[in-house]
């Protein structure tokens, strides 16, 4: 072997070693930020869009979005690992639905980074900020809105003699009457309901500014007039024979996407599902939800679901995570236009509604300015405190649903809910 060849090999080896060490150095400087979300088409896609907007100016931050899990799985993993005190498997950013947020904030103090220290919370819808506020600090970057709407098949309603104007200032009695007319004239049931869920009752209750608890966190069932009115209304809807019973999410959404039922009464996030049937374009409309009659504070505006981003204080990438949320989710108006059009993700960051997409009318909904309407309704949602025991009371409510829909006494049901819930809240 000649000396030249030896020298060459030596130089090559040096270069290779230098290359490797350069690589490891950048790897050491780069920060990984992992995100857990639960819907590939919705929040996962929105998060990926945000990540791709952040990447060009921050090549050192590597945002990984994992949206392969169901929401239930995420809750379970979060709860188990925080309880076990082992946070190694947890992400830096996690999506949590608003109605369970307080449970995590209160049972795991210190587990989440208070975002109100670094992000201006006054630019977000107040009811969203309230849901994530504990001991004077707010812990979430509010994401999507659950502002509710009454999605209706304009063509079915027209056949039954109702134009769009007839749906303004609806009451639930009028809603039931419409349902009977639609069934008589078109043969379609009005709405699909799942006896395993309390969604509609919660929507009605919140539309009157009430929840299951008093301001001090104690149970408020027996004297809760909005809850009682909601249960009575729910029973009336079933007894009017205008309901298609559904079990599980697929059957539930299938009822209106297949054209079987005439309305869907849900959060704005249902828009994407409704629009997934292009052949129904132009046949749909959206109106505010009906009001509870004779209940103080009743409105036609409510909330269902909706979730927000939380930063875990155990994550190695928490500082990068906060900066990322701040510079995209609390700054970028264009980003919100993009995810509104792409995913139907309706923002709770108030400046977003100044963008063009929020003003556009939608031909799928017969040319209505859908997003502008939702923005207007969102501002009127009564703020409430979801407390920490919503899951427990929900299961007590659901246990009474079959009985009251078959004509059982609502007062007895309230008493049973109260008994069961107070047993569970220990």
């Amino acid at each position: 072997m000649t000396t030249t060849a030896l020298r060459w090999r030596h130089a090559l080896a040096m270069a290779a070693a230098a290359g490797v060490s350069m690589l490891t150095m950048t790897a050491a400087m780069a920060v990984d930020v992992t995100v857990w979300a639960w819907d590939t088409n919705f929040n996962g896609a929105a998060m990926k869009e945000a990540a791709s907007r952040y990447a060009p100016s921050h090549p050192d931050v590597n945002i990984k979005v994992d949206d392969s899990m169901q929401q239930e799985d995420i809750r379970q993993k979060l709860q188990t690992q925080l309880l076990a005190g082992d946070t190694t498997g947890l992400p830096d950013i996690v999506l949590i639905q608003d109605d369970v947020a307080q449970k995590y904030l209160q049972s795991f103090p210190g587990a989440f980074v208070p975002l109100s220290d670094s992000i201006d919370m006054s630019a977000f819808a107040p009811y969203k900020v309230a849901a994530a506020t504990h001991d004077g600090k707010s812990y979430s970057l509010p994401f999507d809105s659950g502002v509710t709407g009454l999605f209706y098949r304009a063509d079915y309603l027209k056949d039954a003699g109702y134009e769009a104007d007839a749906l303004k200032d609806l009451t639930w009695d009028k809603f039931i009457q419409i349902g009977k007319d639609v069934k008589a004239k078109t043969g379609h049931n009005l709405i699909a309901l799942d006896l395993n869920g309390s969604g509609l009752i919660r929507i009605m209750m919140q539309s009157a500014g009430a929840w299951y608890f008093n301001p001090d966190g104690s149970l408020n069932i027996l004297d809760n007039k909005p809850l009682k009115a909601a249960l009575e209304t729910y029973a009336k809807i079933w007894q009017a024979d205008i309901v298609k019973p559904a079990s599980g999410w697929t059957e539930f959404t299938g009822a209106f996407t297949s054209g079987e039922t005439a309305v869907a009464l849900n959060g704005v996030w249902m828009t994407g599902t409704i629009k997934s049937q292009p052949d129904q374009a132009g046949k749909w409309g959206v109106a505010p939800i009906p009001k509870l009659e004779g209940v103080e504070g009743a409105t036609g505006y409510s909330n269902e679901g909706g979730s927000s981003w939380y930063v875990l204080s155990s994550g190695a990438g928490k500082d990068a995570a906060v900066d990322f949320l701040k510079s995209i989710w609390a700054t970028d108006v264009d980003f919100y236009q993009k995810i509104l059009i792409g995913q139907g993700a309706f923002s709770t960051w108030l400046p977003a509604s100044a963008g063009d997409a929020y003003k556009a009318s939608d031909d799928f909904f017969g040319g209505q300015p859908v997003w502008a309407n939702f923005s207007e309704w969102q501002a009127k949602i009564p703020s409430i405190d979801y407390g920490i025991y919503t899951a427990e009371v929900d299961s007590a409510v659901v246990a009474q649903l079959p009985t009251i829909t078959q004509g059982g006494s609502v007062d007895d049901a309230l008493k049973a809910i109260n008994d069961q819930a107070s047993q569970q809240m220990q």
Binding site: L83, S107, L195, P245, S247, P402, Q424
Partner: protein, 294 residues
């Protein structure tokens, strides 16, 4: 003297050999068992425990959801296990007939359900038994029912559905035990019975069942334990609903730990209820079997 020392050395060697296994058993089996027993006397949310004495046991007696779950679980046990054991016995006897053709095929077909994935079959059952699912359509096509049955929305039919599901899955499993046991029954006994004029029915009750008694006892205990721990089917098909009508003890433990405000102490107490039930029922079944053999 020398022998005693040798014996002692052998004893020490023996213990040394099994010591690693004993240590592992202690850490991974005994410690968790005693820890969960200790937990069942703790009260509090999340990780904030404090000793609560008998508070959890008092809470059990007043908890309507626990009582509902207990009654549901026992209902499944009392209705489903006898049906399944009898079906498995009949299937085993029928498939043990040497004159039957395609025996291997039928045996495989009946055993196949219990190797399917729990989640896969639960999901399939859920869609088959939907209001506009294939089962309702078939029953209506052959005029057994006029209107579709709301399998998943009606508290009674939801229970029936769970019973159908677990029977479908576990009958073949029990049948295999009976088939194996039947291989050991001497054919000449049946021959003698036939000569004496015993009918097929008599042979089944007077020969097969008594001969298989130890195996029947075994399968009954195993099935009892399985049903008391029933979780996957109810979680995936009905989620305990409607109106908690299919809520089982295991699903309730899951809810208490992962769905509700975490209440580890109380869910440990409910777990120990299952342990006690399994112990008492197994004991009772042994006792009954022993009495009859006298």
């Amino acid at each position: 003297m020398a022998n005693a020392r040798l014996g002692r050395t052998e004893q020490i060697t023996g213990w040394t050999f099994i010591a690693p296994a004993l240590v592992l058993l202690g850490i991974f089996m005994l410690y968790p068992i005693f820890w969960s027993l200790w937990m069942s006397f703790q009260v509090g949310k999340g990780m904030n425990f404090s000793f609560g004495g008998f508070a959890n046991i008092v809470r059990l007696t007043k908890d309507p959801v626990f009582i509902r779950a207990l009654v549901n679980t026992l209902t499944f046990l009392v209705v489903q296990v006898p049906i399944m054991i009898l079906l498995a016995l009949l299937a085993a006897v029928a498939l043990n007939d040497p004159k039957l053709r395609f025996r291997g095929f039928f045996r495989t077909a009946i055993f196949l359900p219990c190797v399917t994935s729990l989640i896969a079959y639960s999901t399939l059952f859920k869609s088959m038994f939907a209001t506009d699912g294939i089962v309702n359509k078939m029953l209506m096509a052959i005029w057994i029912i006029q209107e579709p049955i709301h399998w998943l929305q009606d508290p009674f039919w939801a229970k029936v559905l769970i019973i159908i599901a677990i029977t479908w899955r576990w009958t073949g499993y029990n049948m295999v035990f009976y088939l194996a046991a039947l291989q050991n029954v001497d054919r000449s006994i049946y021959e003698a019975a036939r000569i004496d004029g015993a009918s097929g029915w008599d042979q089944f009750w007077q020969i097969t069942v008594p001969m298989l008694k130890p195996v029947i006892l075994f399968t009954t205990i195993v099935s009892t334990i399985g049903t008391l721990q029933l979780f996957d089917e109810v979680n995936n098909i009905t989620q305990g609903g409607p109106s908690d009508s299919t809520l089982t003890l295991s699903l309730y433990i899951y809810n208490l730990t992962f769905k509700f405000m975490p209440s580890f102490g109380y869910s440990a107490t409910v777990s120990w209820v299952i342990v006690l039930l399994v112990a008492v029922l197994s004991f009772a079944q042994f006792a009954i079997a022993r009495d009859r053999s006298k």
